[in-house]
Amino acid sequence: MTRGIRDRTAIVGMAQTKFGKGLEDSELSLACQAIAGAIADAGLRPSDVDGLASFTMEEMREVEVARNVGLGDITFFAQISYGGGAGCGVVGHAALAVAEGQCDVAVVWRARKRAARSSRVWMQTTRRLSDHYQWARPFGVIRPVDEIALLMRRYMHEYGATRDHLANVAIAFRKHANRNPHAQMYEKTLTREQYMNARWISEPLCLYDNCLETDGALAVVITSAERARDLPQVPVYIHAYAQGLPQQHQTMLNYYCDDPLTGPAWACARRLWANSDIRPHDINCAQIYDAFSPLIPLSLEGYGFCKRGEGAAYTDDGALEWPNGRLPTNTAGGGMSEAYVHGFNLVLEGVRQLRGTSTSQVEDAANCLVTSGEGVPTSALLLRR
């Protein structure tokens, strides 16, 4: 039985602004530049666009974007919550809407001016909490990195994972960024020694276990597979998409269930593979959400590349590195070394791999797994050409 949106839609356009800290342009201007660029890349006109999907954390509202870029009459617009967990789901919602005829050409984007210190969400913590954060923040578990570090310490204890495994992740992604002129860390190499001597952020995690802080915007254009075949770019088909919000889940502070180390990726992956002709061992390359290095071993397990507890060891022997690793991952540098734009840059790198235009191009790449944030209600895409 064929289920899901299997190849009925394709990503036909994409664009990004430059990435950096303290970009002069406003967030709205960045969003408009990326969206207009993606529409032009697709060989379409702004007035062709009739669908929009974005993150709930997106501060550029649909009306502003549509008025500025000169979009057509919008007949589908939607948002998904949970920050870094949303990106692939937003693309999936747009694809569903196109597949079901709610719109013909959809744009999905993310714009962010993150690099200013004042924009750190945790800095805005109020002093009297009425939500679930009251069970953690008073004790000094203030930032997302503290929340994930608590899970990672437990994971290390249960499975013998070490900082060397996390260094494998950070170094692999940095090597890819060093080949990508658009990456924020293009010119900065990272050695194992530098990693081991880095300052702590939340032990057992150090500076290099964390993503970057980035200003920038990105957008993609989605239309039907039929229309895609008449457009200038190689169509990148959305083979499958899934979301995951597992039972008794409590976002990053997921300590209140039977098994906190089984995150949303597991639920998402079950649906993703069920709706796909592709299996984990068929995957040519992956773009895995990496706000923090521990999310890589946890996601490798959740998406079925290895068994529970084996995700850290999976990263040994350059497994994540282009060109010879068994699963080249985050081939543009990911959130840790290219740019952190809530993982949306991972979607664009997935598209580049299937167009054959990555700066770390996997030979004959025919498919790519793209994931959004593990640790929060999440989503994933299987792209193919």
């Binding site: 210190r117 002093r127 009425s130 009251q134 204890h157 952020i201």
Partner: protein
């Protein structure tokens, strides 16, 4: 909405007037570590919330725990942090699994005494699996649960 004004101590603290959680904080003020329990099927749940996920009952009770547990995990945060916490960093934050049911967990701090600072214990001596017991520390009008080594 929660108030935006910094509290006098500079620590982030719970709002004590939320219907779902008020009973928990009333418990800590009396030296009790309470866990919410379904009034219909008896299933315990943490954090407290209106409905039982097992039977959908809205009946809720508080059950006083022994206050004994083991360390499930811990971290040592370093700056950048909110100012009051940055001054204390590096400090420890731990997760404790309760003896009554290890899937009931609390985030807290390991201290040498109820009112001791959260950066007093050498983090290199903290071990997952260590037995701990609850103590209570007053900050403004809140009594926070904290943890001491069970044999101290």
């Amino acid at each position: 909405m929660t108030e935006k004004q910094p509290t006098a101590s500079g620590f982030v603290l719970p709002d004590l007037e939320v219907p779902e959680t008020r009973g928990f904080w009333e418990g800590t003020a009396k030296g009790e570590l309470r866990v919410e329990k379904c009034g219909a099927c008896g299933r315990r749940r943490m954090p407290p919330r209106p409905m039982c996920p097992a039977c959908q009952s809205l009946k809720r009770e508080w059950e006083v725990m022994s206050g004994r547990g083991t360390i499930w995990s811990f971290v040592v945060p370093h700056p950048p942090l909110l100012p009051t916490y940055a001054e204390l960093a590096p400090y420890n934050a731990i997760i404790v699994s309760l003896d009554e049911d290890p899937s009931l967990r609390f985030v807290g701090n390991l201290v040498t005494s109820a009112d001791g600072p959260i950066n007093e214990i050498d983090p290199n001596t903290i071990q997952i699996g260590e037995p701990v017991r609850v103590v209570f520390h007053q900050l403004e009008d809140v009594h926070l649960p904290r943890w001491v080594r069970a044999r101290s």
